[in-house]
Symmetry: C2
Subunit: 191 residues, 2 copies
């Protein structure tokens, strides 16, 4: 039994072990080595990932060849390209493992079946997406309220281990800063 | 019967008129005059709004007294402070009618009951939030890809009537521009 997912579901919807035993086979356990590309630009069969350990990054590359991070998914987060998944269109994004990661993967076919057969999972994902939607509303507040330097420090205070462990170009590509500037901020925050 | 909501639900979940007749009483029809404040900073009882006509704006005021728009909700959109609603915490935002608007309002108590009694509504809101979450992922891509001027023109191309009808300070507070600059862009786009 995957305890992490069982506990995560139970945060929002009460399910017992026998129900979970029926739900669990829908998810595939997947190991992703650091830098493994899980979703490629133009993919049509879009999986949804739950992070058991490690970290995922969703990004795109602009016309100038610069990589921009849309979001990270740390332990206990779900990640997919949700608009493309809903519209059944090819994705404009990539998903990559930032470090060696252990994941649960849900294919679009299994996902449809899971939601049809287990109404509690509709309730679970409704809550997961509601929180993710709300988190973006709060993120917009940060973007509109603070300078990129202030956002770096708030982000570091919220996720200190993450900021210290991932390559600085990734933090830079998330905050829209240069890697050199993030390096300077990181030194400033240590001293 | 509220045809707009019936049709909106049926975009994502099949319900018939007799089911809708049971669901409809959960929503309260509400008229909001231009500038009416529907949600105040610090409110604890957070309603969710569906826009039948008109437009809502969710915003906050920063330490310098400047108003920043987090998002607009046009016809056919749902709007609430979703993180505060989930966590049952007071909101940090305000919701205001941008113009005379006709709304359906769902109270938190009715919402809980609706979701418990009608599993199809879990499925409906799961899809609504999935799309809203995905829309924010796409919005982050815009913010990271384009200049504010380019975003203004893309926004105007996507919602021409909206951009031409609402006060320019609102568009400015959404895009993080000065009202004078938006006025200049709007003149440039007309000529």
């Amino acid at each position: 039994m995957n305890v992490a997912l069982f506990q995560h579901i139970n945060q929002f919807v009460a399910i017992d072990e026998s129900e979970f035993a029926e739900i669990a086979p829908y998810f595939s356990r997947q190991e992703a080595r650091k830098k493994a590309l899980l979703m490629h630009l133009g993919d049509r069969v879009l999986h949804e990932y739950f992070v058991l350990s490690g970290c995922l990054q969703m990004y795109f590359i602009d016309d100038q060849g610069t990589e921009h991070t849309i979001q990270f998914a740390l332990k206990g987060w779900w990640l997919a390209d949700y608009l493309a998944l809903q519209k059944k269109k090819p994705t404009d994004f990539c998903i990559q493992a930032v470090e060696d990661s252990l994941l649960l993967s849900l294919s679009p076919t299994k996902r449809e079946e899971l939601l049809r057969v287990f109404p509690k999972m509709e309730s679970y994902f409704r809550t997961v997406y509601q929180i993710a939607y709300g988190t973006y509303q709060t993120r917009m507040r940060y973007i509109q309220s603070y300078s990129k330097e202030e956002i770096f420090f708030k982000f570091r205070d919220a996720f200190p281990e993450f900021v210290n462990s991932v390559p600085q170009y990734l933090i830079a590509s998330y905050l829209g800063l240069s890697a050199e500037y993030v390096s300077k901020l990181r030194r400033k925050s240590i001293s």
